[in-house]
Symmetry: C3
Subunit: 232 residues, 3 copies
């Protein structure tokens, strides 16, 4: 039928776009590249996701294919199934969910990708993120006075020295469940190796879950990073 | 050439269909949602798949990417390569292969998906399942008298209190190796949280291997399941 | 736009082709089928990839999704992200990178597949393999005198008794990053269960990294392999 052919074309357009983005754009938030989570700037994991002792025993006795304990690190890894995500507890100072990521190499951010299960494939779509802000700085600038003008729509900075490079919203009703957002070019910011993603609100649930976040951009030229490991 | 363009279109049609099914239809047999295997209603693993001591040592010494020991649990997990499956030993009371699955949330089954490697991609296509039956009940009804009329083509029930909601056949010669079968709507059955899949026969091998089974349907409204964990 | 539609079509053509190759062609280098690496014929792992003690501790403390220590075994496994590869140290007698693979079943090789990240998706495309040779023999023939004429473009055999069945080059500028190369039919060679892939040069880096190699062909009829395990 014509309707099914059209659905078909939309599905293939998403598959083409998502595959190209995954394969042809370096993700500086990738665990394989060496990105790690900074616990101090990251929300606590929701107790509901951690489960009780029985849950823990069960998880370690059964064959869980190395998927391990739920932790914010999951935001840096691929996913395949519902629940391959990290669920944060809301807190006063970190919004609905917040994650701080130390990148393995300094870069100039150009776009960010937010991934979530499509709404019909999960029983908990209300936990998807909605509005979020992206804050960046160079690790070495920790505690520095707030040097640049932040993005006008952003709220209070998580800490002095951080700059907001964008605010956007993930849409659970969009055709594609993997959504890429351009970031404002701001030459004054320079190369950064630390970023905080703060989720401001979600789609109705008490907690917020994140499947994956990827950050794309231009790497700092190699001459300046001779002492770091970089990718192999 | 025209032939290759046509092959191309068929391949893309399968990819679109399989991706949509995977992402946009909740699978109540998913290990990540919390589904588990009930050993009492499940065939023993084929000794050939378990291998001997040497095999076991080898599997644990080498880097097996967390794929773990072969077990019926694999029927609830994704697969990527040949042998990412579970092979059952035939038995008198459980057909060629049988698996009992406790679902994490009660649901009304509407369709079932059987996955297997395409025939040209495996050296053991004879082990693919052929005819199979789907039996369901609510966990709480264990041992209850057989309350509803079963599907007319099904054989003897594995136990009193179970209802057959469908019988179908996996076809190794079909264009798509991931096959979805509609189940009979039967309002009298209500919501169920336990299912048995019994494979009646296969494509010629002495043993039967299953790559993945997914069960789709409508979840029981949340009001009745306040005490269960559900998805996070 | 027309440009984006065309990019779109190229992306889908690659996806269709790569999916068909993965699903419908038996890979005799597959770890799940039982293929293993022969250390004696394999280059040492590059020290840069192994990292230091801190790296090792980090890798084992954090959730690395069962990805394990870098080793040549990774050439036999799937990959998804940059760095899901094996990096070899160049050596005098094994070229830029060399791997010996013991296959679980004897076969007549017909084609080989080399996989690598697309050039824009990695920060280290110079480490991709370029020219490579494929040498084969039957395990039982170890040390036998060099019986057949080798492929004319190949260099010195890694050992007596090995036959070169092809030489080709992986192209980082090709449209598809998964590249399949036909091998010369040579009836005199018969069925083989051991292969050496030797990478002669790369795209400019000091070390060479391999994401995955697959070997396709016709399996030896089952009558002759009754004592081996084969696939389950
Ligand atoms: K994830
Ligand atoms: K599986
Ligand atoms: K790999």
């Amino acid at each position: 039928s014509k309707g099914s052919t059209q659905l078909h074309s939309l599905a293939l357009a998403n598959i083409a776009r998502n595959t190209e983005l995954r394969l042809r754009s370096v993700n500086f938030f990738s665990h394989t590249l060496g990105a790690t989570v900074h616990p101090r700037y990251t929300s606590p994991t929701h107790p509901r996701q951690l489960g009780g002792l029985w849950h823990w025993v069960n998880r370690n006795l059964h064959d869980f294919q190395g998927r391990g304990h739920p932790s914010p690190f999951r935001v840096l890894t691929p996913w395949e199934e519902p629940s391959d995500c990290w669920c944060a507890a809301a807190s006063d100072d970190k919004g609905k969910a917040q994650i701080g990521v130390i990148m393995p190499r300094a870069m100039k951010p150009t776009s960010i990708t937010i991934e979530h299960m499509p709404s019909t494939g999960t029983l908990d779509i209300g936990a998807a993120p909605r509005e979020f802000e992206i804050w960046v700085r160079r690790q070495a600038d920790i505690g520095a006075p707030h040097a640049y003008n932040s993005h006008p729509n952003c709220g209070e900075p998580p800490e002095a020295g951080l700059v907001c490079v964008g605010k956007a919203a993930y849409d659970i009703n969009a055709i594609n469940h993997i959504q890429n957002f351009d970031l404002e070019a701001n030459e004054a910011i320079g190369f950064v190796d630390f970023a905080i993603i703060r989720v401001i609100n979600n789609w109705g649930q008490d907690w917020t879950c994140i499947y994956r976040i990827r950050l794309h951009g231009e790497p700092e030229p190699i001459i300046a990073v001779s002492s770091t490991l970089g990718e192999l």
